[in-house]
Subunit: 442 residues, 2 copies
């Protein structure tokens, strides 16, 4: 097999199959009609943010670049398409030579976005661009949804570290991408080993109720954990009686005990009690980690509690109520003919039933106020005003088919923190509201 | 590499890395304490259904079996764990020889479930079972959430076929599993080529607004599509003016036109108008496909509309408001010693803060009323009452580490339809309510 082997348990040999059937049949029809080679501009954007959200977070860009690089139709894939009679032989021939050769521009990963922001722009022939629609949207819609939730949680947590632990609540490979997005949004660590392996994100772990229940007594379990993992470990103290567990934990580990984890009950109340007890036992340096269906609101409500770290699972990996963004991939301009020099014509859906969009290849810039704080997302199709020239948001990601903008996740994470910090203060209010920046069209 | 290569863009070499960090550190501590080999029983269950739902749907079982078979620690994975100092050398040695050798029982895939149903039971040593927690929960939580939404949509759609088209709204590999779950829940086809390749699900496609916009006129676009794909194709008629598009479509394709797709506007109203227009033009056999943010409620509201098929995306792949189930994997019994013949002791978390569970290895049976309709989910830890002996729900899936229950997706799909049909009529009410069967503990 020429291309990437996704192997078991997935067994999809190339990112080219992460594609909707109609992309290929449209390609066939356009090839036959002589329109497939018309130069085209597609843009990714959302018409709105999830209800009540103040800003969006671009995430997944690095994964999109991987997917575009590995988008190839090898013999297995072509054999499948032939056997199913999805497209004709001419189209299969065309697909066999497929390699994206166009340009991609986009908001750099970690940047914030607003309704209408042209988050990504893909330019090339209609044929080569239309095929990328599904996989680009899959990645950006998933990863950005998780990153947006992570960013809100990170704001709410302030300086306290957040641990991503939602792998068990989402598809096993979505979990790997979710841990990546959480890191971009401001999480410190993850429980997911695969994301440590693939992306180098620091992994951490505590222990589960099963470990305590395995042993004859809680004392035996704590002893086993400390003997093996050291006093710096985190003991789970809510299997039976929390106060008794804390007492035994400090008795065994001494004041050097790393941390205790509380995974049930009224976390605010229990954290206060446990802190008092730990302090009274001399374990003033022992930390308190809380978990148990946390979301950004629960995290915020614990701001005054003596909590040292938050573990977040379900609500993170499901986007805290918004598991997907509503990003779309729309043709906004195309040439009048297959001549590579033919001028581009703006195009847009115009039916009355909604879902209209604005035609034309767009630029975007973030205008700042006199204090250097962002005050508007400005989008246009004409020349860029001089005063916005150095505030433009789109950067080149792919040039003539070659990826030109690989970045480390730490760069992306820092960019997100900076972009969020540059928004008006109301951006990090958790209450429902309008986007914190208005979108202005020039 | 000895194990499955997930390749780009994922690059996780084995399902063993779809695991939380703490599973491995618990293993290390248990190995050192001499408790790792205690015979153990873990069960997967939910404490509740998503708010308002009447039943759950077990999905992903087949994928769990693949994941268990491919759960191996090869040299790449061991190298990663060593470099990160996640576990010690003794534990790495143990992991190098890992192969699940125990038994797994479960509700057969496609079966319905209720709060407390022991959906899956994993038995073996603590060490070999605890490691499987994360990947089993990832798969079942994701796949069952999508299948439950699919099942409600299929009920609402009645005899009209449903097309899964949500790939662009979720992680690119979650999309493949989502298409599989949708099929289990009753969908007929999918747009996702990868799921066609991997699972043999029939794939279909129509066309996008971009295809119309690529061409100089809508007429040119329709002509191109019909010339290439035949009169039986589905034309998208809402790019500009629906009535004009329908007129042109029938003019070009004649009454043999396969279908038209409506993707925006008031679908109820537009579908009636389009049906009248098609009939007036003699295209009485031309079908109407509707798409556009459909969920089970929107589908139900279109029951009286002249619609022939529904395409569903976002709401399907995100579980229609419930993108994950709350399945947990709990130790319910374990031996008193590492002696393989030591008796099992029921165990359960007992702290006051909620999240308690019922210890002991469980059986489950569905009791029927005098008409043969399901009336209760009966769960027990003692002997099975004679009258329920042939209504037991758990079947053996893995025996001594060998998968013994591979099934085709069509068998699973048929099982789901039969299980749903055997529930009281109120099961398929879309309104919010209690689980349609009570759970009784014996």
């Amino acid at each position: 097999m020429e291309t990437a082997d996704l192997g078991l348990p997935v067994d999809v040999p190339s990112t080219a199959l992460f594609t909707d059937h109609y992309e290929l049949t449209m390609l066939q029809a356009a090839l036959e009609a002589g329109t497939a080679e018309r130069r085209s501009v597609f843009e990714v954007f959302t018409r709105r943010l999830p209800d009540g959200r103040r800003y969006g977070v671009v995430a997944g860009t690095g994964r999109v670049l991987d997917a575009v690089e590995n988008f190839r139709f090898d013999s297995d894939v072509l054999g499948f398409l032939r056997e199913r009679e999805i497209v004709d032989e001419e189209t299969l021939q065309w697909l066999a030579g497929y390699r994206f050769s166009g340009d991609i521009w986009g908001y750099p990963e970690g940047e914030v976005y607003f309704p209408g922001s042209p988050i990504m722009r893909v330019e090339g022939t209609f044929a080569e661009c239309v095929l990328l629609e599904t996989v680009i949207l899959s990645i950006l819609n998933h990863d950005s949804a998780v990153a947006a939730a992570a960013s809100r949680m990170a704001s709410a947590a302030g300086d306290r570290p957040l641990i991503e632990m939602g792998a068990r609540r989402t598809h096993e490979l979505a979990a790997v991408a979710a841990a990546r997005s959480a890191y971009v949004g401001g999480f410190a660590t993850t429980s997911d080993l695969a994301s440590g392996f693939r992306y180098g994100i620091p992994t951490v772990g505590t222990s589960a109720h099963a470990f305590t229940l395995l042993h004859d007594t809680e004392r035996d379990a704590f002893r086993a954990q400390i003997d093996s993992l050291g006093r710096d470990t985190t003991l789970l103290v809510d299997t039976y009686d929390v106060a008794e567990a804390v007492r035994v934990a400090v008795e065994i580990a001494g004041p050097e005990l790393g941390a205790v984890r509380i995974d049930s009950g009224d976390l605010l109340l229990v954290a206060h009690r446990v802190r008092q007890q730990l302090d009274a036992l001399g374990a003033t340096g022992t930390k308190i980690v809380v978990t148990s269906d946390l979301d950004e609101y629960a995290i915020a409500s614990l701001a005054a509690a003596p909590v040292d770290a938050y573990g977040v699972g379900t609500q993170l990996v499901t986007g805290s109520g918004h598991p997907t963004c509503s990003m779309v991939y729309k043709l906004v301009a195309r040439a009048e003919s297959a001549d590579p020099k033919a001028p581009l014509v703006p195009v847009a859906k115009k039916a009355s039933g909604g879902k209209t969009s604005i035609g034309g290849r767009k630029w975007a810039a973030r205008r700042l106020d006199e204090h250097g704080v962002a005050e508007a997302e400005v989008i246009g199709t004409g020349p860029v005003p001089a005063e916005l020239a150095d505030r433009q948001l789109l950067v080149q990601l792919v040039k003539g088919g070659q990826v030109v903008a690989r970045e480390s996740l730490d760069v992306v994470r820092d960019r997100h923190a900076a972009a969020r910090a540059n928004l008006p203060l109301s951006a990090t209010q958790l209450s429902r509201g309008e986007p914190v920046l208005p979108t202005e069209y020039l």
